[in-house]
């Protein structure tokens, strides 16, 4: 495809995503791309931009909006991750992120199924727990005995290659150690209320029942800061406004979806080369 053909396909997808969220009563928001401090996660590195950082996701601002009373919001925009480059990664990419106040990761799953239907992917979702697929394809249970290194390697070498490719797949209920910004299951704190969507064996979206406990959130940021320091990575200052906003943020569900990869799935390709008009 020429650059303009790729952009036409993208334009059609953008229109159907926006039409879907507007029909569901969501407000499209714009939040800053340059941030005083990015969201700290163990394995996600931000690109510096002058005395600011380019966002790795709009998550922190969206939660600030939820704390101020926003109910249903979405944003489509560029996000940036340092050092991520390959057939399925590009340091600059397009993210769709949406949040619903008063909901959880199950509601996000319903949203996602309807969104997929709206953009032309109309199969039923196949849902597996993380414990289930690790038991089946890797022969161990990371929820009971977590091993971070083995978890990541097995995900790439044993789990992802064995997921069904003809239907959308959901992996849900991650080990608590992989909670990121998700809350732990109230009835089973070994599990985080988080799921990921796969299309054709490629990870497309990540959703949480959002963590709203400021004490727990601060503890997680501090832990990742220590781990990042040990790995020789930049330790980002904690966004105090964000921690404070969790005091008033309602229980919410949120989902982040890679638009470039969704476009790849729709066009039946497995490399970004086929859908990006220009590569960095």
């Amino acid at each position: 495809m020429t650059s303009i053909e790729k952009l036409k396909a993208r334009d059609a997808l953008m229109q159907s995503i926006r039409a879907f969220f507007h029909s569901e009563g969501f407000v499209e928001v714009e939040t800053p791309i340059r941030m005083k401090t990015p969201c700290m996660e163990l394995h996600i590195d931000a690109e510096p931009s002058g005395n600011r950082w380019l966002r790795t996701s709009p998550e922190l601002y969206h939660k600030k909006l939820l704390a101020q009373g926003a109910e249903k919001i979405f944003e489509i925009g560029k996000c940036f991750r340092h050092g991520e480059r390959g057939d399925r990664h590009h340091p600059e990419y397009t993210m769709l992120e949406w949040y619903r106040a008063g909901s959880n990761y199950d509601t996000m799953l319903d949203d996602t199924a309807r969104l997929l239907r709206n953009v032309g992917i109309s199969c039923n979702l196949k849902i597996f727990t993380v414990a289930e697929v690790y038991g089946k394809f890797a022969g161990w249970n990371p929820v009971e005995h977590f091993d971070a290194d083995r978890f990541d390697f097995d995900m790439v070498e044993k789990i992802e290659p064995n997921l069904p490719k003809d239907v959308p797949v959901i992996l849900k209920d991650y080990p608590a150690e992989c909670c990121a910004l998700a809350r732990l299951k109230p009835e089973n704190p070994k599990v985080a209320e988080r799921w990921e969507l796969y299309l054709g064996g490629i990870e497309i979206a990540n959703a949480y029942s959002e963590l709203t406990d400021p004490v727990e959130q601060r503890a997680r940021f501090e832990k990742w800061g220590v781990q990042r320091k040990a790995l020789g990575k930049t330790v980002y200052p904690i966004d105090e406004e964000f921690i404070q906003c969790l005091e008033t943020m309602p229980p919410s569900g949120g989902c982040a979806l890679g638009v470039d990869r969704l476009l790849m799935a729709l066009l039946g390709t497995t490399t970004l080369d086929d859908i990006l008009p220009f590569r960095d």
Binding site: E84, G86, D87, R88, F153, E157, E160, C178
Partner: protein, 189 residues
């Protein structure tokens, strides 16, 4: 040393003392997890293929490879003897090591030999050589016959390959040494 982030397809690295080439490379980052660099590798010494994954920050040795230009000197039994263009040092390669290349080596031919430490791994010949056809069925008339119709032919050292039907004994043909296939006719008998 390479940092794992420098790895790419075609790069030659050293693993457990063995020279290897990366034949396929994939950057992976499972949701929220660490970056994993998946490589498909081929052992340049044994030809065996395998997979290996690296994590961020891993270091990989560069392959200790050196290519030197040699000239073919003489046969010694089944061995082919080449002399280094600079040092005149001789190296013996067996017919088995040379594989199909043994049929395309001619007097005074310059070749590039790839070494890992002191072991010859691979030999690169000039892409085309010219040889006289010593044995083939009589050809069809004329020059214009379709080259789609092929027949077997042999050169002086017994190498057998397919040529177009219009080729005759005594014709000089060009052979592509990369594939061992007929390329074109240089002159008629």
């Amino acid at each position: 040393m390479y940092d794992v982030s420098e790895l790419k397809k075609g790069l030659k690295i050293e693993l457990d003392g063995q020279p290897c080439v990366i034949t396929d490379f994939q950057f992976s980052k499972p949701g929220k997890g660490q970056a994993i660099y998946r490589c498909k590798l081929k052992n340049l010494s044994t030809g065996s293929t395998f997979e290996k994954s690296y994590r961020s920050g891993d270091k990989v040795d560069k392959a200790n490879l050196e290519s030197r230009t040699f000239t073919f000197s003489y046969h010694n039994g089944d061995d082919f003897v080449f002399s280094d263009n600079e040092s005149f040092e001789e190296i013996h390669l067996t017919a088995e090591q040379l594989g199909k290349n043994q049929y395309f080596i001619v007097e005074e031919m310059e070749v590039d030999i790839l070494f890992h430490k002191d072991k010859a791994l691979d030999i690169s010949l000039p892409t085309f050589i010219e040889k006289i056809i010593t044995d083939t069925e009589p050809g069809a008339r004329g020059n214009t016959a379709s080259s789609n119709v092929q027949k077997p032919a042999r050169i002086d050292n017994g190498y057998e390959f397919s040529v177009p039907i219009f080729i005759n004994e005594g014709d000089v043909v060009r052979i592509d040494t990369r594939t061992g296939e007929y390329a074109d006719r240089v002159s008629k008998a």
